[in-house]
Amino acid sequence: MSDERKLAPEAPPTLAERMRAATSARVAIGRIGSSIPTRAALDFQLAHARARDAVHAQLDAGAYGSTLHGHPVLEVCSQAADRGQYLMRPDLGRRLAPGMAERLSPHRSDLAIILADGLSATAVRAHAANLVGAILARAQDWQVGPIIVAHQARVALADEIGEALKAKISVILIGERPGLSAADSLSAYITWQPRKGRLDSERNCISNIRPPHGWRIEDAAGEVLRIARAARRIGCTGVGMIAEQSAHQGPVLEG
């Protein structure tokens, strides 16, 4: 196998190194005839394998035990029966399975916190428990009930969950669609007065929560609370809040 990552056979090696240093893209990977050298080909396959495994990973609620940071953990699932159906029917991932709302409705949470597998349970496993802890530490001015763990969930599942918990605001921490460079990136979507039928444009999103490369946990938690308090003050999230938002935390229409 070729161990040399040359741009072209006669190119100075420093050029390839400079190019690679300039970007995270797979530049200057060399070539064998018209093809990609073995190492670069296997590098790519490894990244794709990790992304695929993240998409199909299960979110194991048992890992959190019956409580998380002192709050009871309740599990719910969407109407998507399995991963295959989840991927093909995003509409089912936005609706609670029968009986789930009844499981939640005896409880109450002004600030509803939901951990959702989304497209990467790997991301939830990696970052969500820490992020919940950091949010709770900053949420002394909010009543927080049980922590909800949601399976086969899309972003909008937070609307039905929040409604059942009579929440003023919902925060769903959900695994993003994995890319080749990161399979563990988490998003937080924040929705004022969550109820069925909310539009994606009515949410705020913090994406790329992935320490140390993306948002750090402490910073992301601070941002969640900043948005939550702003929502309590002006009575909305999403496009209505955009004017008061810094440029990079506008609503992201995905999921």
Binding site: A8, L15, T23, R26, R31, S34, F44, Q45
Partner: protein, 472 residues
């Protein structure tokens, strides 16, 4: 042309072995006849079972082409794309095939006496719905065989779409729009013979000032190296219009388009806005060989995802986007076939089928079709599927594909085709870059005189571009 309010009394039904299959509308026939794909299932439009799917194809095969001019899928009074289709239908071009059924059109297309000239001359007589209909009674092989016969050429600073040629869009995206990162990806692509369709950046930040910086950098590199190609930053037409007003070096005007007025409104565009952008870009008069200045992207499922599909299947709606495209004489039309995700095209088989349909229908309607042969990480697909799709599209005569470092777009987070993939296709199918670009590759020393990548590219010439010299 029939007035839009005509009551159509056609019965869409067939009897097969004692079972009567009835379809409630022309749209229902088309949807049921489509090869299985997740987007039609999600929309509740797919055939109930495999037999109903084939029954719909029997019905479709026997329908006269003229029915598509009378029984309109989306009412003209509600949709400007329907009006565009009716206004621009050319009765003279249609005359040679007017008598045919959908099944008859398939056979006329496949007939060995029907060659490129005949196909080109009927393009304006074929509506998007006719193209969609005939594709639904064609196997993958048929789509390849006919596409291969259609030559659609366009030009700006070089010639795209000639037989025996394969061009690439060099796609040097960067997660932070870092000029240095983008320059590294451009250099990588040029040294691997990529970039004749366009050097086109998807910006990470859709901010006009940022896009202006990128446009100037692209223009600087192209001018410094005298590359016979065109550049583009893929942003909304309103941004491009503003940049044109500010004097930015805009070669091509980009826009994503769809097949219904409502879906286009979701993209923030209308036909009149596209005309304004087309006029403004043409007025810059920057092309040296030709005046094709528009670059459109499309993709099955975009209407459904914006809840603007009117109960019509995603492949038929995709063809309607091609009517929008062809009224602006584009340089490039790119179906971003696997980008939308598994809820529209689930796996490699569905992406392959859609890619062949889009290429065939686009070419049949007279468009310079390229394909972003791609998938996301939640689709049931991998690079092996892309290899098959690229190879089959190469045989079909695709005008251009994407060239991305290592096939991994680190900004958009999906996988497409690499610079190497284009080299592979050119190798195994004996294809070459656009002629003007090929001459440039040879003159600068990236290609050797035999038209293959040179062992010793003369890098010092690249230093004449400040953006590239920073890397050398």
């Amino acid at each position: 042309m029939a007035p839009p309010h005509v009551e159509v009394s056609v019965q869409y039904r067939t009897d097969i072995s004692g079972t009567r299959h009835t379809f409630r509308s022309l749209g229902h026939v088309l949807a049921c006849a489509s090869p299985l794909r997740s987007g039609d299932v999600l929309a509740g439009l797919a055939a109930e079972n495999a037999e109903q799917r084939v029954a719909a194809r029997w019905v479709l095969a026997d329908l006269p082409l003229t029915v598509f001019l009378e029984d309109l899928l989306i009412p003209a009074e509600r949709d400007e794309v329907t009006r565009l289709i009716l206004e621009r239908h050319d009765a003279r071009a249609f005359a040679p095939i007017r008598h045919l059924t959908v099944g008859g059109l398939r056979e006329w297309l496949l007939d060995e006496t029907t060659q490129s000239d005949a196909l080109r001359s009927v393009a304006r007589g074929i509506t998007p719905e006719m193209a969609a209909a005939v594709s639904k009674v064609m196997r993958n092989q048929d789509l390849v065989a006919v596409s291969r016969k259609v030559e659609v050429t366009t030009s700006f600073r070089n010639t795209i779409g000639l037989s025996g040629r394969l061009s690439t869009r060099l796609q040097p995206n960067d997660p932070t729009d870092s000029p240095r990162g983008i320059a590294a990806a451009i250099l990588d692509g040029l040294l691997l013979g990529s970039g004749d369709a366009v050097i086109g950046i998807n910006p990470a930040t859709d901010d006009v000032a940022n896009i202006g910086v990128l446009l100037h950098m692209l223009d600087e590199i192209r001018e410094a190296l005298a590359i016979p190609t065109q550049s583009c930053v893929l942003t909304h037409v309103t941004n491009t219009l503003e940049l044109i007003r500010k004097g930015a070096p805009v070669d091509l005007c980009f826009q994503s388009i769809a097949g219904t007025q409502a879906a286009n409104e979701g993209f923030g565009i209308s036909l009149s806005l596209l005309r304004e952008a087309w006029d403004a870009t043409l007025a810059l008069n920057r092309g040296t060989l030709g005046r094709n200045v528009m670059y459109f992207e499309t993709g099955q499922g975009s209407c459904l995802s914006s809840d603007a599909h009117h109960g019509i299947d995603q492949q038929t709606l995709e063809c309607r986007a091609y009517e929008v495209a062809r009224s602006f004489d584009p340089l490039l039309v790119n179906s971003v076939v696997g980008f939308i995700g598994p809820e529209y095209l689930y796996d490699g088989k569905q992406i392959l089928r859609a890619a062949l349909e889009d290429h065939f229908c686009g070419k049949l309607l007279g468009l310079p079709m390229g394909l972003d042969i791609c998938y996301t990480n939640h689709a049931e697909a991998d690079q092996d599927d892309m290899d098959v799709i690229a190879t089959v599209l190469g045989v079909a005569g695709v005008s251009f594909i994407m060239g991305i470092p290592g096939a991994d777009d680190v900004m958009l987070g999906y996988q497409s085709t690499s610079f190497h993939d284009a080299l592979y296709l050119r190798d195994v199918l004996g294809l070459r870059p656009a002629p003007e670009f090929e001459d440039w590759l040879t003159s600068i020393g990236i290609f050797d005189p035999a038209g293959r990548l040179a062992a010793t590219p003369r890098l010092p010439q690249l230093a004449s571009s400040p953006a590239l010299a920073a890397l050398l």
